[in-house]
Symmetry: C2
Subunit: 159 residues, 2 copies
């Protein structure tokens, strides 16, 4: 056990190290730590690709669900994504103000809104899907098709 600190210089780009600087004390074998690192890595890859379009991973997932569930309500969207309603309002506002989605009062229940993509939204999502496919393709290339599928299966089992 190290009684004095290991003198390592280099601050260096955070994303490249993570480990190798200090004794990780078993931390790097823990599920929480590995999940955090993996999520950051993947979200950075996807997020960087989406950044030019002003879209976060969450916004992309909202667009995806709206495209498959036209006319759904905000409450349903929030439940499906695991996002609290108050946090969804601003996201929908963004999509509406950018002309990508419509928020229409539900005639059957005047408390509710129904959501759907505009034509511009459909087109926009198609472009994002193309980019997402590229990114995922690179990831699969890196870890292999089989491990990729196993990983998704295990993550599903976990949560």
């Amino acid at each position: 056990m190290a009684t004095t600190s290991v003198r390592r210089r280099q601050p260096a780009s955070l994303e490249l190290l993570g480990e190798g600087v200090l004794d990780m004390g078993g931390l790097d074998d823990k599920l929480g730590f590995r999940l955090r690192f993996a999520e950051r890595r993947i979200f950075r890859e996807i997020g960087d690709s989406f950044q030019a379009y002003g879209v976060s991973p969450l916004l992309y997932s909202i667009l995806t669900l709206l495209s498959v569930n036209p006319g759904c309500r905000q409450a349903e969207l929030g439940a499906a994504l695991g996002v609290h309603q108050p946090n969804l309002v601003e996201k929908i506002d963004t999509l509406v103000s950018r002309g990508l989605a419509l928020r229409t009062p539900d005639p059957d229940d005047r408390r509710a809104n129904t959501l759907r993509l505009t034509d511009a939204g459909v087109e926009f999502l198609a472009e994002l899907d193309r980019i997402d496919d590229e990114v995922i393709g690179r990831i699969i290339e890196r870890v292999g098709q089989e491990d990729y599928a196993t990983l998704i299966e295990l993550l599903r089992k976990l949560a």
Copy 2:
């Protein structure tokens, strides 16, 4: 303690649904989505258990590294954890103000501080470790020892 009827005025715990409400349009087969769900689930389990101690998963990881690397610098800690230095300052402040860690000027380099746990910090971490073991034990029980190990291995490969 929850035997009395708990009045649920709120959206009925988002964490239990996630899917099953809408057509997920393949979103639930995507790595980013699954990582987000899994990380939230695990961090909630760990975070809930730590909440009574006023400790977040990140703070726990800091305590762990300090215990194994006494005398390390803030820059080293940040690099090992993938946390930018400005974001680390407040965390260290917290630990110091709670009497769990010491921030001592490095006599060899007067720009730097060296960090180490106090006796109270060591004791505190031991208690947190005990709780963490319990939580991880439950998770392993849920997914099985083999899948748990595979998952960590694949996450490491991914990031």
